[in-house]
Amino acid sequence: MSGADLALGLTALAMLGLRAAGLAVAGALRPDHPFIAWAAAVSQATLASFVVLAVVAPGGVLATVPGPARVAGLVVGLGAYAALRGRLLVALVAGLGALVVVRAVVG
C-alpha cells in the first residue's frame, strides 16, 4: 500500500467519523436545540465563505482564470437566476458561459 492509498483510507475513515458524530449528536438532542441551529449557521457560513474565496481568491487551476472573468460568471449567473425566477440549470450555464467569454476577451 502506497502513502497515497494510506492517506486516502485514513481520510475516508475520518469523513465517516465526522458524519457519524454529527448524526449521533443530533440524535441525542431535541430538533429545536440551539446546538442544531448553531451547526446550521456554521454550515451555511462555511458555504458562503467557500463561494467568496472561489471568486475573490481561488487556489489551484481556478486561480488561472482572471478575476474579471470569475466576477462576470458570478454576476451573470445570479442575474440570470433572478431574471428567470429560479431556473437553476439555465442560470448555471449562463454564468459559466459568461466566465468563458470574458476570459477569452480579457486573455
Binding site: 502513502g3 492509498d5 494510506l6 492517506a7 486516502l8 485514513l10 481520510t11 475516508a12 475520518a14 469523513m15 465517516l16 465526522l18 458524519r19 457519524a20 458524530a21 454529527g22 448524526l23 449528536v25 443530533a26 440524535g27 440551539p34 446546538f35 442544531i36 448553531w38 451547526a39 446550521a40 449557521a41 456554521v42 454550515s43 451555511q44 457560513a45 462555511t46 458555504l47 458562503a48 465563505s49 467557500f50 463561494v51 467568496v52 472561489a54 481568491a57 489551484g60 487551476v61 481556478l62 488561472t64 482564470v65 460568471g73 458570478l74 449567473g77 445570479l78 433572478a82 429560479g86 437553476l88 440549470l89 442560470a91 448555471l92 454564468g95 459559466l96 466566465l99 468563458v100 476570459r103
Partner: protein, 222 residues
C-alpha cells in the same frame, strides 16, 4: 418509492451538472498527478467532499499524517452539516443512518431546502434518491475525467471548477429571504478574508466557524 424517485429526478439537473463538472476536473487532475483510476474513484465516493479531495490530491505525495489532517480539516463542515440535517431525515432515528455516506454539500444544500416542505415519512426516501443519484453522477464524472485528462486543457478545467461555487451561490441566493440563513451567509462571506491568513485547508474551517457562530449569536439576540 415515489419520494425516492422524485428526489432522484431532482438531482439529475443543475445539481448533477454542477457536481459532475467539478468531479470531472478532479478526475483529470488526479490522472495528471499519476494517481490511479481506483484511487480517484475511491476519493470521490468515500471522501465525497471536494475541498478535502483537493487537499488530499495536493498532499498525497508527502507525509501521510499531513495529508489526512489537512483533508479532514478542509471537510470538517461534515460534522455541523450532519447535525443540522439529522432532524429532517424522517421520524425513524435508526433509519437516518442510511444517509451517512451521502452527507456532503450538494445533497445537504438540496435537503435543507426541500426536506422541510415534504411529508415527514417522505423525507428520508427523497434524500436517499437525491443522494444516490448525486453519488453515482460524481463517480461517473470522476471516471470520465480520469480517462479524458489528456484532452482537457487547463482553461477548460478551470471553467469546470467554477461550476460548483456558482451553483452554491445560486442556491444561497434563493435562501436569502429567510432571516437565519441570511445572517449566516452574510457573516460567513464577511469572515472569508480570515481564510487568507491561514493555510488553505484550515482557512475555510476557521471562516465558517467564526462567521457561523457570530450569526448564531446574532440570531439569539434578535
Amino acid at each position: 418509492m415515489i419520494p425516492f424517485r422524485t428526489g432522484l429526478r431532482a438531482a439529475l439537473g443543475a445539481p448533477a451538472l454542477a457536481m459532475g463538472a467539478t468531479f470531472l476536473a478532479f478526475g483529470a487532475a488526479s490522472a495528471e498527478a499519476n494517481l490511479a483510476f481506483g484511487w480517484a474513484l475511491a476519493a470521490s465516493l468515500l471522501v465525497y467532499g471536494m475541498a478535502g479531495q483537493v487537499v488530499l490530491l495536493q498532499l498525497a505525495g508527502g507525509p501521510v499524517a499531513g495529508a489526512v489532517l489537512g483533508a479532514t480539516a478542509a471537510n470538517a463542515r461534515f460534522f455541523p452539516m450532519a447535525v443540522a440535517i439529522a432532524p429532517w431525515l424522517g421520524p425513524h432515528r435508526a433509519r437516518r443512518w442510511l444517509a451517512l455516506p451521502f452527507i456532503a454539500i450538494t445533497p445537504w444544500a438540496a435537503g435543507m431546502r426541500h426536506l422541510p416542505l415534504r411529508d415527514p415519512a417522505a423525507r428520508l426516501p427523497w434524500f436517499l434518491g437525491f443522494a444516490l443519484a448525486s453519488w453515482v453522477a460524481a463517480a461517473a464524472a470522476t471516471a470520465l475525467g480520469h480517462g479524458l485528462a489528456p484532452h482537457l486543457d487547463a482553461a477548460l478545467r478551470a471553467a469546470l471548477l467554477f461550476a460548483n461555487p456558482l451553483y452554491f451561490a445560486l442556491l444561497m441566493a434563493a435562501e436569502l429571504r429567510v432571516p437565519a440563513p441570511r445572517r449566516a451567509m452574510l457573516l460567513g462571506a464577511a469572515a472569508a478574508p480570515l481564510a487568507l491568513w491561514l493555510p488553505p485547508a484550515w482557512g475555510l474551517l476557521a471562516a465558517g466557524l467564526i462567521g457561523g457562530t457570530a450569526a448564531w449569536a446574532w440570531g439569539r439576540r434578535a
